[in-house]
């Protein structure tokens, strides 16, 4: 029996890359097919496990009614699992309470811990714009919107259950400051700069001790250019491309924002998220002070 370790992140922060690293740990001959991630464990907001356990049509419930039942589903997800020694489940939801006041994701009753993946919000913005098929300005606004959600439509049934994201700073803060679960922060930038040490430390936090050779091979198999090549060849099952040439594995770089954002977009992100960027090391104290003075 294994319990959930959340793989929590704001969208476009490296969650999928991390899951591909995990999946490739057990790939010996060839890279794991990006459309067949054996260990993906689904996403917290998937409708299938919700309906399987509750016997209800989630489309007959309001978003809030579904939220009230979600903790019960996660309490059952770990124990019903068979065979896996680590149950990493992706979540884009902010760590928030249900309308009834209990943790939406079930707190300690459902999970043991959370790996929280974060990324410089200036690099998230262009990636999010590509993902949602919007302008970068709209992505910057979305990241500053405290009411932002995924899958919140009410005139049709979204593929997934609603995910309340909050703004970027608020999202990260709910995960880092929640009192229920121990957390381990993985910075996207560190995963790029020193993948062996960063990934090994995260796995150790989750109670795994992979061999160095396996880690190095997984990193090579999940190298960005390889993932993008797979997507160009066969597509990627976990997203709907917005346009014929759009790619999920778009750029995979840190600091690319310097060439992609206008000065005004950079200022808007830094002034909206200065304190959290400082906390995560994306701004220096002097930089954060200077933004505050603007």
């Amino acid at each position: 029996m294994s319990r959930i370790v959340w793989l929590a992140s704001y969208p476009k922060s490296g969650n999928t890359w991390f899951r591909l690293l995990v999946a490739n740990l057990s790939a010996t001959e060839a890279p794991t097919d990006i459309n067949d991630m054996g260990e993906r464990g689904g996403i917290a907001s998937a409708r299938t496990p919700f309906e399987f356990h509750t016997l209800l049509d989630s489309g007959l419930l309001t978003h809030d009614e579904a939220d009230a039942l979600r903790p019960r589903v996660y309490e059952l997800m770990g124990p019903e699992d068979d065979g896996q020694d680590l149950r990493l489940v992706k979540a884009h939801d902010a760590y928030l309470p249900t309308p009834q006041g209990e943790p939406l994701l079930g707190g300690r009753a459902a999970a043991d811990a959370a790996i929280v993946i974060v990324r410089d919000p200036r690099d998230i913005a262009p990636s999010l714009a590509n993902h949602r098929g919007t302008s970068i300005d709209a992505a910057v606004d979305f990241m500053a919107d405290k009411t932002a959600c995924f899958a919140a439509a009410t005139r049709a049934q979204p593929l997934q259950l609603r995910q309340r994201l909050l703004d970027w700073s608020g999202h990260v803060a709910t995960w880092l400051d929640q009192p229920d679960l121990p957390t381990h922060i993985v910075r996207y930038e560190d995963l790029q700069a020193d993948p062996v040490a960063t990934f090994t430390a995260a796995m150790a936090f989750a109670g795994r001790d992979p061999a160095r050779a396996d880690v190095e091979r997984a990193i090579e198999f999940a190298r960005f250019e390889r993932l993008q090549a797979q997507e160009r060849e066969r597509g990627f099952s976990e997203w709907r491309a917005r346009g014929p040439s759009a790619l999920f594995f778009r750029r995979g770089e840190s600091q690319a924002w310097r060439g992609e954002l206008t000065g005004d977009q950079v200022r808007r992100i830094e002034s909206a998220h200065g304190p959290m960027m400082l906390r995560l090391g994306y701004l220096t104290t002097a930089e954060a002070d200077a933004r505050r003075a603007i």
Binding site: R47, E51, T54, E65, Q157, S237
Partner: protein
């Protein structure tokens, strides 16, 4: 009391349930639906989940803040509103999950499927909630194929073992967006629940009668996402059996009720008759006409009679 015929069962109900076939007059009924006291827990439960508990002859479903339902012996449904529950919400749950579980309690084979009448046979489309079953079936009804069933369907058998589907006149439930895309605003009925933009729709072609139809081809719906390309494929019989089992209505209960064998028998029967197929298509209203054209080609190639209209 209202009287309906649901999946071939005469049902008396103190709740009006939109769009079901009227049942025969008389006193007796196979199933009766009545308001009454429903406990919060089920004594002697042998299995349970976050919203339910079951014993050999009783099943308790609790939808927090809405209502509780007690199903007894496959014949009696008792309902009680929760504190903030609204009576107008009962019909949606009764005609869906609650009646579906009652059918399992009776040992019947129930698929999560909508269906239409194609040349006198019931063609079924299986898939989870949100997979587009109702939209596709309603679009086919607009094209001239009468609707047979929506959301779930019981598959029975005649004396010769031929699989039969009972049309039960259930109105399709469509989201506002689908109603707009299918241009069905003038057929939009009341909301399924007051707080949802999901509505009953008067189907363009309702079933002519409640007489059972032989079961034709069964399609499992799948969105065209990489690496799966749009098209119709025929899986091998093992995969076909798994598809049927996965698309059993409330599949969680199949193992609990020890009914797995029924679905393997069903797979064998359907594979020998109309066949089980995987229908992979874009989940996009603009793709619907193409999907229907593919289906009609598929029916023509397999010798299925053309549209009745």
């Amino acid at each position: 009391m209202y009287r309906y015929s649901i999946a071939g069962l005469t049902t008396s109900s103190d709740i009006e349930m939109p769009g079901l076939h009227a049942g025969p007059d008389g006193d007796g009924a196979d199933v009766s639906i009545c308001r009454g006291a429903v406990p919060e827990r089920l004594d002697g439960a042998t299995a349970s989940g976050p919203t339910w508990a079951m014993s050999p002859d009783r099943f308790l479903l609790r939808i927090p803040g809405i209502a509780r339902f007690l199903l007894s012996g496959g014949a009696q449904i008792t309902h009680q509103l929760e504190a903030d529950g609204e009576a107008g919400d009962l019909a949606a749950f009764l005609t869906g999950t609650v009646f579906g579980i009652l059918l399992h309690q009776r040992g019947l084979v129930v698929l999560h499927a909508s269906g239409v009448n194609v040349g006198g046979r019931a063609v079924l489309f299986m898939g989870p909630s949100g997979s587009g079953k109702s939209t596709l079936a309603t679009a086919l009804a607009q094209r001239g194929y009468p609707l047979v069933t929506d959301d779930f369907c019981v598959i029975g058998a005649d004396a010769a073992g031929r699989r039969l589907v009972h049309p039960d006149g259930r109105l399709p439930k469509l989201w506002a967006q689908a109603i707009r895309h299918l241009d069905l605003a003038d057929r939009q009925g009341p909301a399924v629940r007051g707080r949802l933009a999901k509505f009953y729709v008067e189907p363009p072609l309702a079933p002519a009668s409640a007489a059972p139809l032989p079961c034709g081809p069964v399609y499992a719906l799948r969105e065209a996402r990489a690496p799966h390309k749009p098209g119709i494929q025929r899986p091998n019989i093992v995969d076909a059996a798994l598809l049927l089992r996965h698309n059993a209505y409330r599949a969680r209960l199949i193992r609990q009720m020890d009914q797995g064998e029924l679905y393997f028998q069903l797979a064998a029967a359907i594979c020998n008759a109309g066949g089980v197929f995987q229908l992979t298509r874009e989940l996009d209203f603009d793709a619907l006409a193409g999907v229907i054209a593919d289906l009609e080609r598929h029916w023509a190639e397999s010798g299925q009679p053309a549209a009745v209209a």
